[in-house]
């Protein structure tokens, strides 16, 4: 008799009162509203253009760009197309974003840990860092790094000579660099393969160590494997793969080697320092969220502070840290568009130039939006995958 079911629980409510159906309907309506708004806005813009006698279209991407770009790691001249110019911008944005994310994570993690340090001085430094950086606008900081730091280095003629030879001036850091020769492509294939092989060797040795309990030097083996493959590549390549050129002051500028431009450096430092402060807070919060008992237990087991951080606290804090970290990575990527104001040719800077020279505002903005959207989605996907992975590792 206790099992007599209440009829209410079984009878489905009419669909207009079914929460699940309602939710779907609400979403469909929302979707329609969004699409209608987008179409409306688009047509509005299009009509505006038509009034000025302009027709939207993406054909301009195939035309000659006609302007030069200072800092690019892919080849580009003014004879290339607008499409190629976009690509240069995208590559530059991705370059800053990837390096920036890595460095900001390192800086932020260190600062986050220091925020909780028992050492008063270290804690003070970390606190001052976080508070000043988080509470001033990024644009101001970028201007600071560029005009008050980078541009204040000595002029080229008085460049500071460092070993290498490298030279530091307000035109950037001139360093020796490789110059590809005939055999470069083949050798580079080996170079990449070396990493894969080294990784495999590492896994194999590590598994053996895990199984047998005997130390089998996974890291050293991997390194040796890597070196062997790279050297093998040198022999397989038809001719020498590259030479190294050194920077030398010739005429107005350094020749040879390569230059890390001050605009890039200022942007990178600015973004890393800024984002690092937010990451520090996330890391601090993550660590603090780990149960106090865990730390006490680790200490009771005789683990040192570093050991308990490394093996006990951080792995657990990760779970809490990763989701907010993702949004910091996205922020860094999007904030890199401020490059425009300090002369670094990122996607946004290049696109404004293109927009201005072609007058294709709508098209250019749509491309820029699509690019940032794609990078953001990819970052999110990657971080979600990583989050999942970290979670599985939890026992």
């Amino acid at each position: 008799m206790a099992n007599t079911p209440l009829p209410v629980e079984h009878a489905r409510p009419p669909f207009w009162r079914d929460e699940r159906v309602l939710a779907v309907i609400a979403q469909i309506i929302f979707l329609i509203v969004v699409i209608v708004t987008a179409v409306y806005l688009f047509n509005n813009a299009r009509e505006g253009l038509a009034q000025a006698g302009l027709t939207p279209g993406y054909d301009f991407l195939r035309l000659r760009a006609g302007f030069d770009i200072g800092d690019s790691i892919i080849s580009y001249t003014s004879d290339d197309t607008y499409g190629r110019a976009f690509l240069v911008g995208i590559v530059n944005t991705v370059r800053v974003a990837i390096i920036g994310i890595i460095l900001a994570t390192i800086l932020g993690t260190i600062m986050g840990i220091l925020r909780l340090s028992p050492n008063l001085l270290l804690r003070g430094i970390a606190t001052v860092y976080v508070e000043t950086i988080r509470n001033t606008p990024l644009l101001v900081q970028l201007f600071f790094w560029y005009t008050a730091v980078m541009l204040k280095f000595p002029r080229v003629r008085q460049a500071i000579a460092l070993p290498g030879p490298t030279y530091l001036s307000n035109r950037g850091l001139a360093i020796p660099w490789i110059e590809p020769l005939d055999g470069f492509r083949i050798w580079f294939g080996f170079f990449i393969a070396a990493f894969v092989i080294a990784y495999i060797v590492y896994r194999v040795q590590w598994t053996r160590e895990d199984r047998t309990g005997q130390t089998s030097y996974p890291l050293t083996s991997a390194l040796i494997a890597w070196i062997i493959v790279v050297i093998a590549g040198w022999f397989f390549a038809p001719g020498q793969p590259f030479t190294i050129t050194r920077p030398e002051l010739a005429g107005l500028n350094f020749e040879g080697g390569t230059v890390l431009a001050p605009e890039f450096a200022a942007l990178l430092i600015g973004l890393v320092v800024y984002t690092g402060a937010f990451i520090a807070e996330i890391v601090r919060a993550g660590i603090q969220a780990v149960d106090k008992g865990q730390r006490e237990a680790a200490t009771a087991l005789g683990l040192s502070t570093v050991q308990s951080l490394r093996f006990i606290i951080l792995p657990q804090a990760m779970r809490i840290i990763i989701p907010p970290m993702t949004s910091q990575y996205l922020n860094l990527t999007k904030n890199s568009s401020l490059a425009f104001f300090i002369g670094f040719p990122d996607l946004f800077a290049v696109s404004t130039t293109i927009q201005n020279q072609t007058g294709k505002a709508l098209e250019v903005i749509s491309i820029v939006m699509a690019c940032y959207l794609t990078t953001s989605l990819l970052t999110s996907l990657f971080m979600n995958w990583y989050n999942q992975k970290v979670r599985l590792v939890e026992r």
């Binding site: 979707l31 969004v34 699409i35 987008a38 179409v39 688009f42 009509e47 505006g48 253009l49 038509a50 009034q51 000025a52 006698g53 302009l54 027709t55 939207p56 279209g57 993406y58 054909d59 301009f60 195939r62 035309l63 000659r64 760009a65 006609g66 302007f67 030069d68 770009i69 200072g70 001249t77 003014s78 005009t147 541009l151 204040k152 002029r155 080229v156 307000n170 035109r171 107005l252 500028n253 001050p262 605009e263 425009f340 300090i342 002369g343 040719p345 800077a349 404004t352 130039t353 927009q355 201005n356 020279q357 072609t358 007058g359 294709k360 505002a361 098209e363 749509s366 959207l373 989605l377």
Partner: protein, 379 residues
Amino acid sequence: MNRRLLLLVTLLAALALVLAACGGGGEEGSAPTETAAETGGAAETAAPTPVPEQKEEAQQQTGQSLLETVKARGKLICGVNQALPGFGYLDQSGNFAGFDVDFCKAVAAAIFDDPNAVEYRPLTAQERFTALQTGEVDVLFRNTTWTLGRDTSVGLDFGVVTFYDGQGIMVRKADNITSMEDLNGAAICVQTGTTTELNLADQMRARGLDYEPVVFEDADSTFNAYEEGRCDAVTTDKSGLVSRRTVLQNPDDHVILDVTLSKEPLGPAVLQGDPIWHDVVMWVVFATIQGEEFGITSQNIDDFMNSEDPNIRRFLGLEGDLGTSLGLTNDFAYRVVKHVGNYGEIYDRNLGPDTPFNLPRGLNDLWTNGGLLYSPPFR
């Protein structure tokens, strides 16, 4: 579920936007662009030239010319420079002043009989066309070069030149640079969104010279980086160089090379497709030029009011209906010269011998003095 759907919606919206725009281009764009790509030279898109019907249609859609909007608003919104002493800048008392700014005043004087009925919008090189396209400003008096591409693909209308200029290049005296060839391997500061950056690329390419462009968004950053030694040279319109040199720390340490990289006819720009408004802007500029040719200045203009010369009488609106046919009052030229002065007065006030710039008139003299200034007849 919720999150995913939201994502989908965003993606779809973006896709819709992109696709719709693609579709629009496919219809007409392809043929003319191909020719442009073949000839290789033109950097700008060869958009189909708008046929006159299109213009009229556009006007009928909006119903009225910008002139009516401006009149109803009671003031002119003028896009100007704020970083170019002599042309468009903020003076000590915080008011906009300069050669270009005076032409804004001239237009306001013609419409409202009040040279101060102007609201100024400072714009960087890169912002200016969008501001015009979106209707944020009525007219652009901002050292803007008239080019075919801007006249067509960017969707502007030019038609009269207020300042004949050419692109120059400024270097430090101490560097002993005298020709373009000396600039091989140099770092050159330049501002984005200008004809300047395109001309520089063309010139260096034509001469087979290598250089590192350092591109900034506004004039202050560009010239600051140059002054700090980030660049060996800085390039823009010669007028711009002369103007900006006066605000460098030691103007005498810098020289403007004796080379001209391009033709830079600077003039007002309005949005394409509004012939009435375009005419107003053009003829106000012509009024200043014609005024100088007649020898009429803001000082002596009232003496001309009893002139017997029919040409002068028509110009001042004492006869005929030239002004009203423009949509203005018959005495619009009188208002312009009375309130702002003729071309020579505007020039001398801002750029003449009594200013730090002391720019010779050169090409910007009347045709009767060997210059290029030539107003079509007021009849």
